[in-house]
Subunit: 699 residues, 2 copies
Amino acid sequence: MSAQKDYKLWLQYNKVEDATILNSYRSTIKGVHAFGNSETIAIATKEIEQGLSSLLGQEIHKINNENSANIIVIGKTSELSAELQQNIQKDIRIINNEGYVIKTLNNNKQVLITGKTDVAVLYGVFHFLRLLQTNQSISNLAITDAPKINVRILNHWDNLNETVERGYAGSSIWNWQKLPDFIDQRYIDYARANASIGINGTVLNNVNANALILTPQYFEKVTALANTFRPYGIKVYLTARFSAPIEIGKLKTADPYDPEVQKWWKDKTAEIYKSIPDFGGFLVKANSEGQPGPQNYGRNHVDGANMLADALAPFGGIVMWRAFVYSEHNTDDRAKQAYSEFVPYDGKFRDNVIVQVKNGAIDFQPREPFHPMFGAMPKTPLMMEFQITQEYLGFSTHLVFLPKLFQEVLQSDTYSKGKGSTVAKIIDGSLDPHKLTGMAGVANIGSDINWCGHPFAQANWYGFGRLAWNPNLDSKTIAEEWLRMTFSNNEKFVQPVQEMMIDSREAVVNYMTPLGLHHIMDTGHHYGPGPWVSNLSRPEWNPVYYHKADKNGIGFDRSSTGSNATAQYAPEIAKEFNDIAKCPEKDLLWFHHVSWDYKLKNGATLWDGLAQKYQEGVNQVGNMQSTWGKMKPYVDEQRFHEVEMLLNIQHKEAKWWRDACLLYFQQFSGKELPNGVEKPTQTLEYFESLKFPFAPGNN
Amino acid sequence: MSAQKDYKLWLQYNKVEDATILNSYRSTIKGVHAFGNSETIAIATKEIEQGLSSLLGQEIHKINNENSANIIVIGKTSELSAELQQNIQKDIRIINNEGYVIKTLNNNKQVLITGKTDVAVLYGVFHFLRLLQTNQSISNLAITDAPKINVRILNHWDNLNETVERGYAGSSIWNWQKLPDFIDQRYIDYARANASIGINGTVLNNVNANALILTPQYFEKVTALANTFRPYGIKVYLTARFSAPIEIGKLKTADPYDPEVQKWWKDKTAEIYKSIPDFGGFLVKANSEGQPGPQNYGRNHVDGANMLADALAPFGGIVMWRAFVYSEHNTDDRAKQAYSEFVPYDGKFRDNVIVQVKNGAIDFQPREPFHPMFGAMPKTPLMMEFQITQEYLGFSTHLVFLPKLFQEVLQSDTYSKGKGSTVAKIIDGSLDPHKLTGMAGVANIGSDINWCGHPFAQANWYGFGRLAWNPNLDSKTIAEEWLRMTFSNNEKFVQPVQEMMIDSREAVVNYMTPLGLHHIMDTGHHYGPGPWVSNLSRPEWNPVYYHKADKNGIGFDRSSTGSNATAQYAPEIAKEFNDIAKCPEKDLLWFHHVSWDYKLKNGATLWDGLAQKYQEGVNQVGNMQSTWGKMKPYVDEQRFHEVEMLLNIQHKEAKWWRDACLLYFQQFSGKELPNGVEKPTQTLEYFESLKFPFAPGNN
């Protein structure tokens, strides 16, 4: 019975195996001295003591004498000795409140970890431990690092009944029933894991919100969580159901122009801040997929967001207003609607409003071109919304390393201010300067012992945090860091598995939605293929809306001959996307309806190329299986076996995707499968007959 | 980050602390020799090797030479050497297939653990390890033990959407989405924990059943679980939804007289046995709380049960037919209905049907008199249904040691064959001989790291298993065993905490439903007090139905002047229950409507006595807190703190119960609270206003 390794995430702190490295660490570190006595400093001290003791395989204790040699000194800059303060004066000047300095002081071989705040020190401690976890040198350190984004936040789509919408790792980790008086060890470990990667905020509840979270009964529970997270530098946020003034306030309206409604939100906000003085603010999904919003009263998003912003402003809180909107009454291309609705409001939101935009214009697909809103609202801070939980990417059964996807989006060039105007620069506020910047990740965390339902899904939580800290990090670096911390520093393990992780993202694109296909998952739960689904009440919920396969070809014409969604991008990009010959093949069917006989760059017809991509995806998963199969010597038995079983499922399901999609599309292309593509072993009717009424996450 | 201690249940295998005992163990045990090579023997060998290594703090290995001194020899009797077989010939003759012998062979200081089957050996291994876990002597062992009940089974009220009805420990541990290809380590650890206490069956899904579990899509998942559990001696059972022939069989009826329906169940059963050759059988909730059943077609319980029994008989499967029935159309006392409906069928069920009866005639209350069906159907095997999950006993927040409750029921004398006709003797088949005997426990197991939501709730799972093995065990012994295995052998810990556990059951009776009160919990979720609830559609779902408080008094008159439920008991018992003067005070308001001024045995009026009982319950929880507070030196920090927080909640909620109930009943009694009873700090209106729409377990 062992729950440990799965539970401990990337904070395994295994004893360093390489004897040379271990000896060099041991000779450098004999103890720890801490300045300050806040709760955060106590946590940082305990972390570094326990982490080092475990990594070095010998007890590392607190040293009272701050002048001892070979010690780690930690503390907030203002609390250090004058001498130490002088040593890092220059370094500290250039970093923000969350940044830290890790510096070897050569006079007496001390390593100093400091920053302007206690939480910055904690971040520095985790960085220092990471150096040892990944077997890096700790000689002559001169590191300064600071987050490039202010709000680095998880969005939990957790319901008050403890289910998780789009959750594939058990139930919610928030035990509302036992709160506020029972503080589950999970909460502390959650905070610790987040702090270790710099996440500083969490929205506790679902964007499809229930107003009850805003009642005193729940406030005391939320307060207990906020108190638990505070020393780890994590602020608590809630989703605000726009109709709450009616549902729990007994008002007749939720019209943002109504003074009573405005007062209700002001009072409600004041009530929250009374018990949570550092409450972060509200996340709002309004007038989207049935959620109430200002449009119910003939008002607009600005009216709604600004009303809440005014209530929060006196306390320093913010509004994260989601741009994920599309309407069944709008016959225009769904991909265009958020842009059309929001861009005219540029510059009209209050200073403490940030608009939260999904990475692509549809919905968290295996691949989407970057959202055209990025770069189109220079006067409005936009925050990124990534989905860490794999709603459309194989749930928690498929190994898909998402930082590769995140990086692709972040490094996309919007050309909004000419070449080099990457999405990363927009959301970190460096292109169009904004004080408020943010990155949100829809959490993949649940009650499973391993938190995320798949040992490798932990890497997506980790990678999200790292990219929120620095959106220009390379996903390869993130994979390597994570592997070394989570499993092993053995090069025979790290190199091939890192490659496997990096390849995994293209694999899922290939076996699910190659060449720009999208949203052809089965309906509702989004589990498995469903390109044939065409009977849902809202046209834009049907896969056929997205692939538009017919005798002539396949794909959604979003070029100037079609919906003209391409025109929402900067001219340099629009030109490329608009021209079938220039459009990147990875996005081909996103932007164009393409003939089955169209010649791809490799000379194959579209039909053959599509089939080959599906086969390639299956083959890639086969390669992942074979890579992993060789890793047995480097991984504990339980996690090795877990990943092995999950890869088997992924391989099975990749074939299911390939066979179901090709059989379905073959009806339109009327062509044979090319050589090298395996024949389906079931009929299309069989695949269409499969039903999964209890697929998880679909509450 | 430590998940270990909470997760490991009573199988902690901590190193023996007492040096003398440790040395004696170490000198007795140098290695292990195993005869046989089945999967079960491999598991038993691994268990004893790892268990001993951990307990003794030194590696215990396999010894190839079966004649070595100071070794533990394990194996099925038929596979032992001829010499060893001779040594235990007599012992083995007297035990059943699941029984075992643990015997010190003095010639060469070996300890032999054997039985007629591999699973018996595994049970013996766990018994032997328990001796060490509880610091007992292992010299001159001559133990024979065998279960007194055949079917020792958990009932999981787990839904296919992975919620758990009346579950307070997270979501279902069955991950239907990832089955059959992902075998969660939980499944193995679940099987191991169950085997360690002799549980040999599990019903995977809710009695409020979904027919989809009987489709091929789920069979392959169920098969994977059955394959995982088989080597641990655990059979899989399913609930059978009576209308399944219509819902998944496309028949027009589920009438048990219809030959097509009979054939459908025969074919379905054959289909199951094809992939699960040792499938256990069906558990059925029929014509109860909206579930379909034979009465929908004018047939009766015998018709329904026997039809299923005939389908299962060729394969050796059984039907567990629940007697938990009551009807909104029957105006008779709900407590009488199951008896009235079932007793006339005595002797009419097939041999492979066993009727599953809850311990009391209402529904798993903190205290109920034993169910009058026990003893009333001598020609029919009856199995006990206990509820391990604390639906009416404080969810997973209250520390209540249920084996004390179970023991009270099991040791109740039914007088069905004169004095000494205990419930235990009825269900173990010793009073009216039956080949088929059983005890079911509604599981309190979920996805929480600690399995049960409360460290002490694990003791209820443990205790259920021990009592199913031997219904005459003393709950004190069980508490002591469990404490030693789970926490510590230190006498300063064991003695007071054992006492705390034993007292905990009377505490919950006192602060919730003293003196025979019952079912006055808030409605639906059953969380907290709700004696005022009177507006539910079915009268017998309203608390007011049960307490019948009015100006004249309180209690349900089930005597001959009332519903005459007392007449369902044997005359000796009936006489006692029927007479207010003889009726045990603990059951007073169960059987009688009693005047507020009635004098209790201690001289107090009923009103004063009732109030004092509520206060006593609160005080008892206070004592539990103070006992636990002193246990810090003996318990790991995490579990100590968890129990401390939970006891605080329990104390708070005990006061809530006291105040809410007394304020409510005071309206009728019109009397002041007696001295020594604390004044409520809130009004009745406040308590009545509390709403818990998301209380768990109420799916």
